[in-house]
């Protein structure tokens, strides 16, 4: 690993976004999702299933208070398993002393706080901040004196904490708590939640490890690995990095830790294989991305962080191998990952069915996490290409254009009748839903979209990397000076980028511009006279004296690119996918009639662009001439003798994939049959 290339994201407080595309998404998060989710967490959204999340924290806080008051006299309840998801008999009248929801319900509140924290950096909002402060106090009051904090066990009985790391989610909730705590500390400077996270982390450190008497385990659902790295980077406390290293290195070693746990409540017949948890092998021996896709992405992200901070080449080699396995063999053209609903998991290499896809929104988000971390360790634009792809397609397809409904699953081909009538596709929904019982995706979307600046830019010393051409101003610190660098762009619809610096006095620095893979060498740079320009791994490093006289202009022509898949992707054999810049397009029945399988497109088709505000904000739609096979009306049997199919020319309209299913239920396909 070349440490001189390592970079880190800038604090979001140093980034002021005004991007025409992402600002709109962020505003949806701020004005729609954050308030909506807050009402849901408080069981106050009419029509939505109650979350019981705040309810649980209240119940836990009451117990913690009682324990403090009663001291040794307090009688801890004996833990009894009540199910992976517990619901009150009468949802309108939950028992105030009981835990409800999934065992990982706490994480929803943490994700909400994290999203709110990011939002506050871009849009100060005292009322929101006050709300967050209040709920942080509630969280702090639920924390046990020893630092433990998970309302499921605080309420149900502390005698069994950390006894089911495989299936329960204490370390997962801890990870989300920590992510939220760091984010809120960075956003506001307030440390109440950061202290809560540190105290819980310290408790975990005291209990976990390979020493006798300690728990030699690791998370069943990863995230703590990368969260602990953030906690280390925020506090500079080495012990948190060491705990993360321990989790990474201990994972998958023999004898399997999960085998030593007692899982009385899980039927032995459905015993989960450890590849599901990426715990089947020590991480350095893992060569293929397998198992639950979100968990995989979170683990690989944490591994990459640890590799960078510990300079561990063998670990980074494993990250690279798993990256290649993911993007070379197991990623949808939308940046979605997870080819099967069975275990919400990766299927075998090149098995990427379009209609049965899982491609969970959270997994595409996880791929963005993984990509940003690979970029931090190795600024190679191939990672940024994937990050950009996932963000503009498989991630934001998870959210309706009005920010009010969500997809958990992001298929690439949908026939609504199949969703209703074919149980194999019961995970596929033809229109987005308001909320989910297992509500991981919407708050995950909220926290990613609100922190997009942390993915667009990273820095090291006097170098600023621009990974995504997200418009805004970045306060770059160079020596003891702060230089506002302004980026204007029309991405993702228009490839022109302007970069200026608001400094009358020249400052010596390097800006590294990503050269997107989708435009190849076909880009133009102007305004860099007198600068040193150097291309390396898909970045153009422009070094020199930057001042308000500097006007860098880049043009990345956004031509339509028709893609083919590797021939080993059987589901895409003989099919084409239309893209433009980072945006993947699809056909919808609304524009193109029913039975999209009968449509054929030439790989050399000519496209015309149509700027449309049909969906609110402006988008580029694409039109091309194709043909439609006509049914043979004269045939009365299901199968009949070959006759060259009759076709009629059709004007096809392609819309961005992420915008699909915003006009009610209808057929959709990303891959179109080739007419060649």
């Amino acid at each position: 690993m070349d440490k001189s290339k390592f970079s880190t994201p800038l604090s979001l407080r140093k980034i002021h976004l005004d991007d025409s595309f992402w600002k709109g998404e962020m505003e949806l998060v701020r004005t729609e999702m954050i308030p909506y989710q807050w009402r849901t967490l408080n069981d106050q959204e009419p029509g939505a299933d109650p979350s019981f999340c705040i309810h649980n924290f209240r119940a836990a806080a009451e117990i913690t208070r009682e324990k403090k008051e009663q001291g040794d006299a307090y009688q801890e309840p004996k833990y009894t398993y009540r199910g992976f998801e517990t619901l009150p008999e009468d949802p309108a009248h939950p028992d105030p002393d009981k835990f409800y929801g999934f065992v990982f319900q706490d994480s929803d509140l943490y994700k909400w706080i994290e999203a709110a924290a990011y939002s506050l950096t871009q849009h100060p909002d005292p009322a929101l901040e006050q709300t967050v402060d209040g709920v942080i106090d509630l969280i702090a009051s639920a924390q046990q004196e020893n630092g433990y904090l998970d309302t499921y066990y605080i309420i149900n009985g502390m005698d069994k904490i950390f006894t089911n790391l495989r299936d329960h989610h204490e370390l997962y909730c801890f990870g989300h708590l920590t992510e939220a705590a760091v984010a809120y500390h960075q956003a506001t400077g307030k440390d109440t939640l950061l202290n809560v996270a540190c105290r819980f982390a310290d408790f975990i450190i005291s209990r976990f490890g390979t020493e006798p008497g300690k728990i030699a385990g690791y998370p069943g659902h990863e995230i703590a690995e990368m969260a602990l790295v953030r906690l280390y980077e925020e506090t500079q406390e080495k012990k948190y990095l060491q705990l993360s290293e321990y989790f990474v290195n201990q994972r998958g070693t023999q004898p399997y830790y999960f085998d030593q746990e007692n899982h009385p409540e899980v039927d032995q017949r459905t015993k989960i294989r450890y590849a599901y948890n990426q715990a089947h092998l020590p991480v350095r021996e893992q060569k293929e991305a397998v198992g639950h896709a979100v968990r995989a992405m979170y683990l690989y992200s944490g591994m990459t962080d640890v590799a960078r901070l510990s300079g561990d080449d063998s670990l980074f080699d494993a990250c690279r191998t798993l990256w290649e396995s993911t993007v070379r063999e197991k990623m949808y053209v939308t940046g979605g990952v997870g080819g099967t609903a069975m275990g919400e998991a990766f299927s075998f290499p090149f098995d990427l069915p379009n209609d049965l896809a899982y491609a969970e929104t959270c997994a595409a988000i996880g791929l963005v996490f993984f990509a940003r971390r690979m970029l931090q360790a190795d600024p190679d634009s191939r990672y940024a290409d994937v990050m950009e792809l996932a963000l503009h397609n498989g991630v934001i397809s998870g959210m309706a254009l009005d920010g009010k409904s969500f997809f958990y699953v992001n298929p690439l081909q949908v026939l609504p009748e199949a969703c209703r009538r074919d149980e194999r596709k019961k995970h596929v929904e033809p229109v987005r839903r308001k909320w989910f019982g297992c509500a991981c995706c919407p708050p995950n979307l909220a926290r990613l979209v609100s922190s997009i600046g942390a993915y667009a830019y990273t820095e090291r010393e006097n170098t600023l990397w621009i990974h995504l051409y997200t418009g805004g101003t970045v306060e770059k610190t160079v020596g003891d000076r702060t230089v506002p660098v302004k980026i204007s762009s029309g991405f993702p619809w228009d490839g022109r980028v302007d970069v200026t610096v608001d400094s009358s006095e020249p400052v010596s620095m390097t800006v590294a511009f990503r050269l997107p893979g989708w435009c190849g060498d076909d880009f133009a740079l102007t305004g860099a006279q007198g600068m040193e320009c150097r291309e390396e791994k898909g970045y153009l490093y422009v070094t020199g004296e930057w001042s308000d006289q500097t006007r860098i202009h880049l043009d990345f022509p956004m031509k339509v690119r028709v893609l083919q898949a590797d021939t080993r992707v059987r589901e895409d054999a003989g099919k084409l996918c239309v893209t433009r810049g980072p945006v993947v397009y699809c056909l919808e029945q609304k524009d193109n009639g029913e039975n999209l399988d009968l449509i054929r497109l030439k790989g050399t088709a000519l496209f015309t662009e149509e700027r449309s505000s049909e969906f609110g904000s402006e988008m580029v739609m694409l039109r091309a001439q194709g043909v439609r096979e006509l049914p043979d009306e004269s045939e009365s049997t299901l199968y009949h003798g070959y006759r060259k199919p009759k076709t009629e020319p059709v004007s096809l309209r392609f819309i961005p994939y992420y915008a699909w299913a915003n006009r009610g239920e209808n057929e959709m396909t990303v891959w179109v049959r080739s007419a060649d």
Copy 2:
């Protein structure tokens, strides 16, 4: 309904087959399957899981004996549910007093007896007959004094008989008992088993009906409907037909009978919807073939029998509608039915995925039952076309060419890696298995193949219908004379058929020759000079004086026919299927290399025939020129910009679909991408 067209199969004792194709299959059944299954039923086959079937009958017989001896002093055990499949802790030492296997385990023995009975008609075998007589005595000794006979309840407790018609299989086992009893009576004239069946039927009659105090239910798994019709036809006891009518008419009426049962052992969350059992609507209101495909086929077969015998037009209309739904919207090109493994069921119309197909061997067998019964009521060759198609493809694909291993599931496309690594395809096996825990298919194959004559010919008065050109001699009764009609044919490889009559004295009769749909009008008839020839619904009725001077020769040219599917079958869009006569062909990796999805064939391709004995008996293989898309080795990413695919010409070799997977594990596909 036109009663003058109704026909019935001839007794198998009047048919002496010497068909080059089916005789081979029958010999496999006789020499391989019947002995193998007998050993399995007796838990004596090394390497195969024990069946416990004979074990259960022994245990039940012992209880029945004790009950008789002890009279009123006998203490009946109180029934406790022990699972849908019960296995001993140590399979080598089962408890002699306990029931093991599935709740429907008895049916395996009945199916074996039925197959043995048919085999005895074609190949007398005193040793086999003695074995059957012995096991029939065992069955008879297990029957309760009141006529009840199901070892599961006799052993586990009679207090709960007929309380779970939905999920348990007493009436299903009764149906198979009855089929076996009639077959053995027809084959040997012996009536021990027939009397057992009648006594059980009488007991059922005494307990079932809509009168107060009776059970207003019907079978959860159908078959009794058609079995009772056979019992009626054999005994001429009207009460058996009436019981069948009652089962058919009561089915699906409101309030749902199954709702009134108590199913304590079945988790309410997995409560099966009644479409699974075809009990969601009264049968005359059912318009779409739905639910478990085998059950559906068995029900529709029984409905057709009842409609014919009761002359019920409204019921026959329902049969016709359900037939159309099956063959027009839900049948694979192989005659397989059941598009989804979820519930081993029909999917929605035109949803016929090739790789995820269920297409259970028993369901294709059921379609043959249904087709023969439609033919009996309405001699229209469209029914015979489907019967022939299923028999030569989706049925016999269930059996290896050596008769020693079996498929339960018959997919139309297989990638062995997917079977191993994709849980969605865990029902698909890439090579046949020796036996199954749920061993319904192999004995079902055995009984169908051994009774093929009952599907080839039916008669009414002086008319003999030839539905399948199966070679052999049929003893046709005309008035008080018996006329041997000899059919010689090279089907399915050669379309020439000769029909002669072994009678020096002319006999006035009609032979109805089926004109296969696959040859259209392209057939030649010679030798019918002086006869009246009339074509109706795909049959050529040749009426006149038949004698040993008559030499009818028919020629149905077996040209290769390339088929396309209805455009609504999305999985087959842009694909072709190669057939010749009734045989569907496929590509295997062994002949054509890997990744069959890269192969393309023109709809107008020219085929050459290759007579091959590679698989033992002679078959016609087909060769044609196609192209193979070549992977673009220069591409390093999963998706890349469009370039017209490079192709190379390939000589393709097609083998009969039923012969696939006889050369070890390899890829297979029936549908090939069209190069047009």
